[in-house]
Amino acid sequence: MRRDRVRVLLISLLLGVLFVAGWQATTARQPKGKGLPGPVAVAATAWEMLRHPFYDNGPNDKGIGLQLGASLGRLAAGYVAASVVAVMLGVTFGLSPTLYRAVNPYIQVLKPVSPLAWMPLFLYALKDSGQSAILVIFMSSLWPTLANTAFGVASIKRDYLHVAAILQLSWWRRLVTVILPAAAPAIVAGLRISIGSAWVAIVAAEMLIGGTGIGYFVWNEWNNLALTSVIFAILAIGLIGVLLDAGLGRLSRRLAWSE
C-alpha cells in the first residue's frame, strides 16, 4: 500500500511538471503581451497578489483575500440556510413517504433549473443584489441535501425506530439520538455535493451582480485584460473548493458508522 501511494504521488507530480513545462514551452516564444500568459507571468502575479491579499483601493481594486472572503461569506450564509431547510424538509419527507411522493414531482421540476435562472426573480423581489446572490447559493445547495436526507431517513432500519418507539423517546430525542445519527452518512454526502455546487454557482452569480467576490474579480480582470489574474483566480477557486470538500470529508468520516 505504501509503495502504491508513493507511486501515485510520483506520477501525479510528474504530470504536473509536464503540464507546466508544456505550458511554458508553448507560451515562451510568443511576443510579450500577446496570446495566453505563461506560468512564470502567472506566478509573478500570484506572488504580487498573495503579498497583499487584503488591500482595498476602492470598489474596483481589492486584494484577492478580500474578494475570496466576500465569496465565502455569501457561501456561508446561503449554504447554511439551505442546509438547515433541506435537512428539516428531508427528515419530514423521509418520515412520511406519502408526503414525499406528493411533492416529488415539483422537486423534480425545480431541481434541474440552474440556480442562476432564479436571479431575475430574486432581484425583482428583493431589490438587493447581495441578498439575491445569497438566495442563488441557497437554491444551488438545497436539492442534493434535501434528496439525500429524505433518502437517508426513509431507509433507516425499522429496528432502530422500533427501539425508539419502545423507549417512548420524545420526538426531539428521537430526532437527535436516532434519526439524525442514523441518516448522518447520507445527509453529509448530500451536504458535500451541495457545497460543491454552491461554490460553482457563486462565481457565476457574482459575475452577474458585480461589486465584490471572486466571480466579480474574474470578470473585472477579464475586462482589464489581466489574464494572469484570471488564471490565478481560477487556481484559487479550485483550491478553496478542495478545502471545502475536504472539510466535509472529515465530517463524514467522523459521523460514519457500520453495522
Binding site: 432500519k157 429496528d159 432502530y160 422500533h162 427501539v163 418507539a165 419502545i166 423507549l167 417512548q168 423517546l169 430525542r173 439520538t177 436516532v178 445519527p181 442514523a182 448522518a184 459521523l255 458508522w257 457500520s258 453495522e259
Partner: protein
Amino acid sequence: MAFLEIDHVTKHFPAPDGRGALCVFRDVAFAIEEGEFLTMIGHSGCGKSTLLNIIAGLERPSEGGVVLEGREVARPGMDRMVVFQNFSLMPWMTVVENVRLAVRAAHPDWSRRAVTAWVQRYVGMVGLTGAEDKRPAALSGGMRQRVGLARAFSTEPKVLLLDEPFAQIDALTRGVIQDELMRMWNATRNTVFMVTHDVDEAILLSDRIALMTSGPEARLAEIVEVKLARPRLRAELLDDPEYVRLRAHILRFLVEGARREPALAG
C-alpha cells in the same frame, strides 16, 4: 386475572398477490403469570415473532388483543422491553451509550451520575466491563446480544420479550449467554415471553412451553409445563428422565404434529 393475557389474537397479512388476506395464526389465547418464563416454540412461519411484536405493540392484531395487568396494550412501551434476534443496537453508539439511551428513557428524572452508575452496573452484570466504549461493529454476536440483554434488563420492564435472542450467536457462545440470561432472570424474576425454535433452549429456560402448529393459519396446539427444578444445569439435565421425556415430546410434535397438508403449507 392473569398478569399478561393474550386474548384470542388473530393476525392477517395482505396476500402477496394483493388479493385477499393471508392468515398467519388464528385465535391464539393463553396467559402468563407474573414472574413466569414462558416460551413459544414453532417452525418458521408460524407467526411466533409476529405475536411477540403484537405483545410489544409494534404490530397490531387483526382480531383480539393483549392485556397487561388488566389494561389493553396497543402501543409500544417501556413496560415491555424487547431483546431482538438481530440485536438492534444503535451502531453509532458505544456499548455504554446504547444502555444509557434506555436508562435515561426509563428514568428521565435521574441525575447524570445516577444514570452512569446504573448503566455501569448492568454493563458489568453481562460481563462487558472493559468494552464500554466499543461500538457494536467491533463486538462479536455474543457480545452484542449481551448489550441487548443489559439494555432490556436495565429498564426493569414488567415483561421481557425475547425474540429468538440466541439464533444469530454461534453455538459455543450461545450456552454461555443462556446461562447468563438464566442468572439475571433468577435475580430479577421478570415475566418473560420468549420465542425460539431451539427445543433445548426452551426446556432449559422456561417454566412452560407453548407449541404452535405450522403456518399459515397456525394455532396454539398445547402448553407443556417444565417440571424441572431450578437452578438447572445443562450437564445434569441431559440425563434427567423428565428432560428426556419432554424433549422427545416436543420434538415429536414439531416433526409430526405440527405438520400440515402440503397444499396448505406456505
